[in-house]
Each structure stands twice: as structure tokens, then as C-alpha cells.
Symmetry: C2
Subunit: 405 residues, 2 copies
Amino acid sequence: MARNIVVAQSGGPTAVINSSICGIVMEGMRHENIVGIYGAINGILGVLREELANLREEEPASIWNLRRTPSAALGSCRYKLQERDFKRVMDVLRIHDVGYFLYAGGNDSMDTAHRVAELAAQANYDLKVIGVPKTVDNDLEITDHCPGYGSVARFNAIAARDSCLDTEAIYTTDTVKIIETMGRDTGWITASAALGRQDDELGPHLIYLPERPFIVEKFLEDVSSVYKRLERVVVCVCEGLRDENGELLKASRKAVDVDKFGHEQLGGVGDLLVNVVSEKLGIKARFDKPGTIQRVSMQCASSVDLEEAYRVGQVAMRKAIDGETDKMVTLVRAPGPTYKCEVSTVELEKVALKTKKVPDAFINDKSNFVSEEFFEYAAPLIGGTLPEYARLRKNLLQKKLANYL
Amino acid sequence: MARNIVVAQSGGPTAVINSSICGIVMEGMRHENIVGIYGAINGILGVLREELANLREEEPASIWNLRRTPSAALGSCRYKLQERDFKRVMDVLRIHDVGYFLYAGGNDSMDTAHRVAELAAQANYDLKVIGVPKTVDNDLEITDHCPGYGSVARFNAIAARDSCLDTEAIYTTDTVKIIETMGRDTGWITASAALGRQDDELGPHLIYLPERPFIVEKFLEDVSSVYKRLERVVVCVCEGLRDENGELLKASRKAVDVDKFGHEQLGGVGDLLVNVVSEKLGIKARFDKPGTIQRVSMQCASSVDLEEAYRVGQVAMRKAIDGETDKMVTLVRAPGPTYKCEVSTVELEKVALKTKKVPDAFINDKSNFVSEEFFEYAAPLIGGTLPEYARLRKNLLQKKLANYL
């Protein structure tokens, strides 16, 4: 029976979520029992508002070029379905004869997809709902990792590496460099900066994840210790760091803003720690906060991530047509020395609203860096080694004069 | 007469300053009257400390790969020569029989180079001193532009464009995006974000340069006006913005740090304006601050910039061998529709310590964006058009139900 599909994007944009949409649309076009291919504008809001774009009217080149276009081309949202919306969702799906609903997003979005699947089941309406994993946060359960993560990880690895070279060159003025990365409750993104480490001297030297309480005194000891050895320190911190009492670290004056899912707006850790380092250690510090730039950088996108994002979209479409529903597509890492992921599915309710933290084994004993196991896990995801930079030997000439300065 | 050369780097790192060093060394190797090719470690400090690396002992591949290596491979410094140092400089140059001194840096560094040239002249010591322009700030006089600028401009153009796509996709939560770019006294870097503008709707919508006093009330009016039209705003601001009284805009609590040239440490404008927008307009805002990452991003380096940086290094070496001294190499834009730069020289004292501001003609009448003339000036410097992104038409299906939400 010929039916229509609705595809939508939700949550924070990434470098590769459009690649998943491309995979869904290209796969959808291959099946003759798919009639309309509609994109809901701004996620579930587009369903509620009945704002459905006809994706068959797009230029094929535009659809194809989604694979190299960051952000979320259909528009995104952070909207939690209310009970009053339930009837409306079904009305819209029904009147447009939607048989397939594909929703790309993170754990909040998987909850939305799960609710839609339940609503359809309760209404005895034939709807196949498949979630497409997407989140730079990499915090979805079950799946080995989430499309979007490999690219933000590559961005942060490169940014950390560049910052280390920068700090090495000008350490007399930019002595302590603090890089604040994204990450609400988990340190996956922050941890990825470690992949930019060329060697122990160059750095990054310290990494702090929200999986461990952040103790200012210990942080200062760590910074002092590296500073004594190298006269410079590169530190990567997560915007979602919390203290011993579970309180978010933030400049006190900052008004706390809360989004529609009840999440507090973060940011400010870098700034705060710059002040702590200057005041307590008397060392000049500076912070970088690439902010949302890190999540939509196509320049730094991981080739592995782009390919996997496309593939999860493609498989999501195929699974829906094959009759699976109320599931999310997952990446399953094949055992063995060569990196490879298969694609499978899991029940949506097993991932909805759940958060996968960075496991203990990925954090070092001192809680100030990642472990070797993290490197093994994450290195294949960023799509190959980082660009090779020159390192000079700098063999010094024999001095002929007395020391000076 | 066979003599040795000393090459050194000074000031803030860039994506392409190593390309200039590569140009100097490769050119030096072609001349049989050049014996030793020495790199001073950390700029003029390396001369004072007699820390000179023998660059002939480097792997040729490492020297060549400097063209794709960001930061400053020989190390940099921000050190102002003191009178007590004068004798020492000459002692070191003399004992190592240095006949050529090539110094890559900005306007402070050109002052250092000029002083060294004067010292040699006063001492009747045969030394050819050539400055190699390098600064992301693009604020050196006489030269059309400075190597380093095209790449930081490309980074900011891409970052602004990515941020605009990001904000368009998720405007319901990230409504006002403020990007804080580098720039102490001039708005060249901030202005470059305009090169990421695909169209008026996408943005960036507002750009504020330190060449104009920053009036908070006017800024709020500008933001409101764009917000009313588009429900989202992307604003690019310079870290060096000043108010009507010439005071630096900064969060009041921030201790002012001063470097060895007497420059205050900047930063904090983005954070400040986020608070202003939330408090005064009640709109949710967020800031990104790529910080030093923007100046050393090889991923975003401009091909034109990389080539020109190499060329100014090469020509600097040749000019020195030809007997020119106390000069800086300049880029001179050839007239005509096709972008092309010749290389020339200018007396160091004409550029030392001088600052070229963004001219009035490059700023719009409302002082909240750049002019078309700026686009004409800067577009060729970033090395070709930005990567093409897909833009969907999003032809909406006819609605069949009543409006909702």
C-alpha cells in the first residue's frame, strides 16, 4: 500500500544530521510504495503546525549536497509534546496519509518519537516510527556512538592541537589556555580534545569532565604542577562541570535560563576558571569557547561520521518500510582490530530520555585526563589521523657568550 | 662575502607565518653566499639569549611542511628591546657573523627590527634587516594587507556562516547569537565575518567594529529591529570595542591584565552583551568566542594567504641579499578586475608602531555592518568562495486543517 513519509530533525544542529536526511530521502526515492516524501519544518512543531515541505520538489543536487551541509536544513526544535498536542499529531499524520515517521535527534527527540509511536498504536493507526540517532553529545544509550559526535570530536581534537601549538609558541603571554567545550551532562565532547594530543609536552595537558566533581583546589594543584614542568598549560573543560555538591560551575552573576525541556543554559566555566587561575596562582590565563561553531563545522567534519550519518538514515528508511516501528537505529561496533560498525535497531523506550555517561574506564585515575581506552574508542570515529604538522628539531648552536636574560 | 642569516618570529601566531619562514629558508638555501641559516628561538629573545637553531640540520620535509603548519614553529615573543639589551644584540649578531636579520611580525615587531637596523648602522656593522609582515590584525600601514589576515578572515567567514545556519535551524532556543572575534584596536578581523553572509536573511545581520564608538542603546535598537523581522539575530563583535568615552567594553569585575607592550588583555564583550540582550530585551542570547583558535586554523587557511606568506618570505630573503636594509616587504595590489599582488618594500620606520584602522569607506552608514567596498577588498584574500551548502526550497504542502500553535 502506497503511503507518505514524514522526516524531521530535532535538537541541536550538527555537521552531519543533514547527511542522515539525505540518506532517508535517497532511500525513500528507491521504493515505489513511497509516494510523498515530506519534511516537517522545525521538527515535531512542523507536524503540529502542518508545515510539511514536499521534498520531491527539491533539486536533486540540493538533496545530494545535504551530505556536505551542516546544521539542520529542515529546521529544528526543542519542543516537548504536551497532552493537548496528542490529538493534533494524529490528525495531521492521518489527513496526509503518513505511513512512516522518521525523527532524527537525541534522547529528548527519541522520547518524542516514542510518544508518536504510542499514539499511533493507541489509535490503531498504521504508522512506522523510526528514530535516527543524532547528537554531538554522544550520550544515547545502546548505540556505540551517535552520528554528529565524530565530527564535533574532530573539531575539538584539531582545535586543541592548534591551541597547544599556539600556546607553545607564545607561552610567555598566553600561559594558561582554557578551552571550554560543549556538553551538558556528559564529557564526551570535552574528552575528544585529547585526540589532538601529539605528545605529553605539547598537550593538551588537563581535561575535566562532568562525570567527576570539579574541585577547584585540585584543579589549581594540577595546573601548578604542569606549569612548573612546562611553563604553560592547556586545559579543556566541559561547560557542564559541577562541584562537589552537584552545583553547576558558573559565574555567580549569570542569570540561569531554562529551555523548554527544563535544561539550564550553560557556559561561563572558561571565564570563571580564567579568573580563578589569575587570582589564585597569579598566572595569566585566557579562554576560548568555540560554542556552537564546534557542532556545525563542515571544515572539520569526520569522513567516518558523514558516511555513518548517511547510512543510519538509509537504514532507518529501509527498516520502516520493512515494518519495524518504535525503534531507533543503532551503530554496533564489530569486534576486531579494524574499525567497522554494523547497523541495528533498539526499542525507542530503551534510549528515550536516558543519558550515557563517559564510563569510568575512559577517565584516568587522577580524574584530570582520559585513559588509553578512550583513545581506542574514539580515535576511529574522527575519520583518520589529523593533518600532519612540521615539528622542528631546533638543534641549537653552541653558545659563545655568557648567559643573558 | 659569505655570511649567516638569522630568522625569527614575533607576536601572535597565525596559520601562515611558518609559510613565510619556509620561504625565507628555501630562498636562503639557493644562495651560495649564505652559510649558516639560523632560527632564533622565541623571536628577539632568542637573539638575546643566544638561542639559535641550525635550520640546515632540519629534515627538508619538515622545512617544506612548515607551509601547512600553523602557529610559530620557532617560537614567538612579545618583548620590547630595552636600552640595556642594545649591546647584547650586537654582540650576539657579531660573534655569529650574522649578515642578515629577517623578522616576521606585526607593528611592534617592525619596531624591534627597525631598532636592530639602527643599532647595526650606529655600530658600522654590515647587517641587512628586512621585516616580514605578519599579523592576523591586518593593521600594518602601507601594505595592502598582511599575511595571516586572509586565513583568519576565512575562519571567521566560515564560522559566521555556520553560526547563521545553526541559528536559523534552532532560532527558537538560540535566538541571538553573538560571536566575539579578536581585534585589539581595529575591526579588520570582525569585519571578515561579513564574508560569510550568503544573504540578508541568513546573516550575519550586525557587525560592530572598534573604529566606531559602541553605543549600547543603539545596539539594542539594531538587535530589536532584526529580531522583529526574522525572530533571530547573528551579531559579530570585536573584543576591542570601546564606548563613547573610549573605555573598553568589559565585564566590570574582570581584572585588567597588561602585557609587556602595555596592551590590556581583552575579551569579555560577548559575555557582556549576552547579559545586556537578556536583561534589556528579554531575549535569550548566547555567545561564541573562538579566541586564539581562529588565528591558527590550518583547516580554514586561505590558499591565497598561504602563497603570499611564502612569497613575502622569499622576497624578503632576496631583498636582503640584494643589499636592502631597514625595510619591510609589502604587498601591493595591482589595479584591474583580477586580484593580483606584487611585492615591494617600504622603510621600516613608516610601519613600526603604526596602526591602520578600517577606513570609513569600509563601514556602512549605520555603523552596524561593513560596506560593499569592504567585500571588494577582502573577498579575494580568503582564497576563493566558501564551500557550497545546500539550501532547500521547502515548498509547503497545502494545509488541510485549521491553524494550530
